[in-house]
Amino acid sequence: MSRALLRSALGLRAPISRLAAPAVPRATPSPFSPAAAAAAVAATTPALTSVRLFNQTAQHVEPSQDPAVLLSSNPASSSPRQQPPQQPQEAQQPAQPPRPLSPAVRALLPVLAAQPGHYIRIHIHGRPFLVTEGDSVRLPFRLRGVQTGDVLRLDKASVLGSRDLTLKGAPYVDERLFTCRAVVTGVESEPMRVMIKKKQRCRRKKHVKSKHRFTVLRICEVRVNGEVANEA
């Protein structure tokens, strides 16, 4: 019985008919639906890279997706497309009142927004990247939990500037003041490099191969909000 389950999970045989019913979401492997979780598949199946993370904030849901999406039993990796409305409220901490902006910032923010060009120093996992709109950023790591084509809204920025004005955050700029969006355009890899380790007077050479993969983003929007709507 367990051997049959193992073989059907590995895809070597057609799935058993009673397990293929869609009413039993836990037994049907569905690695490509947006609601897939590694926990929903049999324990012997290796985890796939199709899990989407970054679901702390309520996401913009495209209405054109098919409604027959399997919800996983694991709440931590729920669907970014069809998130139940109660979940963002449970996941967020009790909302702190927004800190008021200083009068200098409030006075000069429309001037900054009116200037023709802007740059922003965004932070991804703490690492800074100085970008303008339309730039392509090849991160020095592979960003997990995203798929090609996803749109990320970056909220950590330490410097937001234009030709004559610069807004510095301590350590980050208030996220109500700007909007920065990036699209994941793909994952590229470096050429294979081989490190040869050898000691003197010993003939043995150890070859260590490396071929790292890196996520590539395209910054599609950098915008300074000239007026902040919800000010304290």
């Binding site: 590995l10 895809g11 070597l12 057609a14 799935p15 569905s30 690695p31 490509f32 199946t45 290796p46 796939l48 890279t49 199709s50 060009g117 802007h118 740059y119 990247f129 100085l130 970008v131 303008t132 709109e133 339309g134 730039d135 392509s136 950023v137 090849r138 991160l139 020095p140 090609t148 084509g149 500037g161 234009s162 030709r163 699209v183 355009t185 793909g186 994952v187 590229e188 890899s189 470096e190 050429p191 590539v216 395209r218 599609c220």
Partner: protein, 137 residues
């Protein structure tokens, strides 16, 4: 003096407006006799239908290639191809290779030192010794 427009060639920036997946076609070759194609046959039967349905922008072409190892050849918009031999792999390993090919652009692998590449002019302008605070002697 007439007002004339500056002539500029438009440069494609995939993602700024619409995002277009760079992989446009995948050829999958399998063999019914070779033992190295067992995983590929299982992949085509079990995992490929959903993978193909999830990517309607990629054209999938499945054809037998007798007495050869199984291979996936991905064609990209810039005209290049990437072939990955998937001999002796399990279906889920082949799925990972297919996802690798889907995420790649067709560019050759090259070592990149600087993370940000941009075609925009500098926002703050080029430094000049005559403007700003000047030099104190």
């Amino acid at each position: 003096m007439t007002v004339r427009a500056l002539q500029k060639i438009s440069v494609a920036r995939n993602g700024v407006g619409a995002f277009v997946l760079q992989c446009k076609k995948m050829d999958l070759h399998y063999c019914d006799w070779a033992g190295s194609s067992k995983g590929m046959n299982g992949f085509i039967k079990s995992l490929l239908p959903k993978f193909a349905a999830a990517h309607p922008q990629i054209e999938f072409n499945v054809s037998p290639r007798p007495a050869k190892h199984p291979v996936i050849i991905a064609h990209y918009i810039n005209g290049r191809e990437k072939a990955v031999c998937v001999r002796n792999m399990e279906p889920f390993e082949i799925l990972k290779k297919a996802e690798l090919l889907r995420d790649a652009s067709g560019e050759k692998l090259r070592r990149v030192t600087k993370p940000v590449s941009s075609i925009n002019e500098s926002v703050r302008g080029i430094w000049s010794p005559y403007h700003g605070e000047g030099m104190r002697v």
